[in-house]
């Protein structure tokens, strides 16, 4: 059972809680991958789900970036192809955007490599660049850094913070790691047994 109500302003809002508290479920409902039994979801003023008005915009039209815990990189595509997958323009413009993202996240070196051929940290950066390349209205981060060691984590979070700051895109960051939460977040919602049990500002 999950029953929550909250608003996320720009910046990073952390959803914090033990595993099984329903953190990922919230993100999946926002992205349109799961359908809530009832309620309302709006992103940037647009209602994408409203059970009483029978509105349910499909995931592919919501323009929500989603960074999965296990990254879900396409194994048969190179890093550059992964990043280009969601870019809505074609031709030279697309090539330029992919190169920009590769540079921005310091992965130009592995552009032509498939996910299995690159390191864990590089995979992480490819997944992040892929989610951001689509210019999402909202970024959802589902414990994507839990598998990384601290120094790699810090580097990626710094790049992410810079990108979020320059674009003003709001992000929801699910984690059960307090230090990650404090490093990236501006505020934090505490989730307990499917309900919001409190909030904190950093």
């Amino acid at each position: 059972m999950l029953d929550v109500e909250f608003q996320a302003a720009s910046g990073v809002t952390v959803i914090f809680g033990p595993s099984g508290a329903g953190k990922s479920t919230i993100l999946q409902c926002l992205a349109g991958l799961l359908r809530p039994d009832s309620g309302r979801v709006s992103i940037g003023g647009e209602t994408v789900f409203d059970s009483s008005r029978k509105i349910n915009i499909p995931a592919q039209l919501r323009r929500v970036g989603y960074l999965f815990q296990d990254l879900a990189l396409f194994p048969h595509m190179t890093a550059a192809e992964n990043i280009g997958f969601g870019i809505r323009v074609n031709g030279q413009e697309k090539v330029r955007r992919v190169e920009e993202m590769l540079e921005r996240f310091h992965i130009s070196r592995v552009a032509a490599h498939r996910p299995e051929e690159i390191s864990g940290g590089e995979r992480q950066r490819v997944a992040l660049a892929r989610a951001l390349a689509t210019e999402p209205r909202l970024l959802l981060l589902d414990e994507p850094f839990s598998a990384l060691d601290d120094s790699l984590k810090r580097g990626i979070m710094a790049d992410l913070k810079q990108w979020l700051g320059s674009t003003g895109v709001p992000a929801l960051f699910v984690t059960h790691d307090r230090s990650e939460a404090e490093a990236l977040g501006q505020r934090m919602l505490l989730l307990h047994e499917g309900k919001i049990a409190g909030s904190e500002e950093f």
């Binding site: 879900a72 396409f74 997958f85």
Partner: protein, 224 residues
């Protein structure tokens, strides 16, 4: 070795396998990704040739495409001949008879594609068509090869349906398996044994391709 029968069999099996490859991809995609509750009914129809005697399938095909039905009259109008005892009739019968052998490997291949990848593609703005073309089919391609090989091999081995629908016309509907039956009826065991051996070796080779390919599957894209 009856070479005209051999050529006819290979021609029939190749054509059937190609038609089935094209036909089965949308069917298998529908079975795997459709949310409809009653799709098990369609799945059961597709699996029927696995359990029905080939003579029953042949019998219903003869009735369905006979002059007594609208379908049969339409077929005769378009093709200029009835379906029975023609090569085209054999192709239609083979496609139906081997349908589960093409659809089932594809269904298990498509099902094995990680749901997370499909979810990721959706959040990246991909609609159904893009997900099928760029994610599901490229990742499940060994299952397409399996489907192609199995439907080819199964068509080579069919007997009852061919006899019911096609009869035994040299160069038109006499396939290798019918030829073997003929040879044995004529007590011509040496010739029958030669053809049977060719089919045995050939079938073993094709199955090696299928199982070899499936055991290598994780080598292609890894499991991550």
């Amino acid at each position: 070795m009856n070479w005209p029968a051999f050529v006819l069999t290979v021609r029939l099996a190749s054509l059937t396998a190609l038609i089935l490859l094209l036909l089965s991809v949308p069917i298998a995609l529908w079975i795997v990704f459709s949310q409809r509750r009653w799709k098990f009914l369609a799945e059961s129809v597709i699996a029927m040739p696995l359990v029905l005697p080939p003579t029953v399938i042949g019998f219903y095909l003869l009735i369905a495409f006979g002059r007594g039905t609208a379908l049969g009259r339409w077929y005769e109008h378009v093709m200029g001949t009835t379906m029975a005892f023609t090569f085209q009739g054999l192709v239609i019968a083979s496609v139906l008879y081997s349908l589960p052998f093409a659809v089932h490997p594809m269904v298990s291949g498509f099902r094995a594609v990680d749901q997370k990848l499909i979810a990721a593609a959706r959040t990246l703005g991909a609609g159904k068509a893009k997900i099928y073309w760029r994610i599901v089919l490229p990742l499940a391609w060994p299952s397409l090869i399996t489907a192609l090989v199995l439907s080819f091999a199964h068509t080579v081995g069919e007997f009852g349906v061919v006899l019911m629908v096609g009869g035994n016309i040299p160069g038109v509907t006499r396939t290798l398996s019918i030829d073997i039956y003929d040879q044995v009826q004529a007590l011509n065991y040496a010739s029958a044994s030669q053809t049977a051996l060719v089919l045995l070796v050939f079938s073993y080779f094709l199955l090696c391709v299928v199982y070899g390919l499936n055991s290598q599957r994780t080598l292609f894209w890894g499991s991550k």
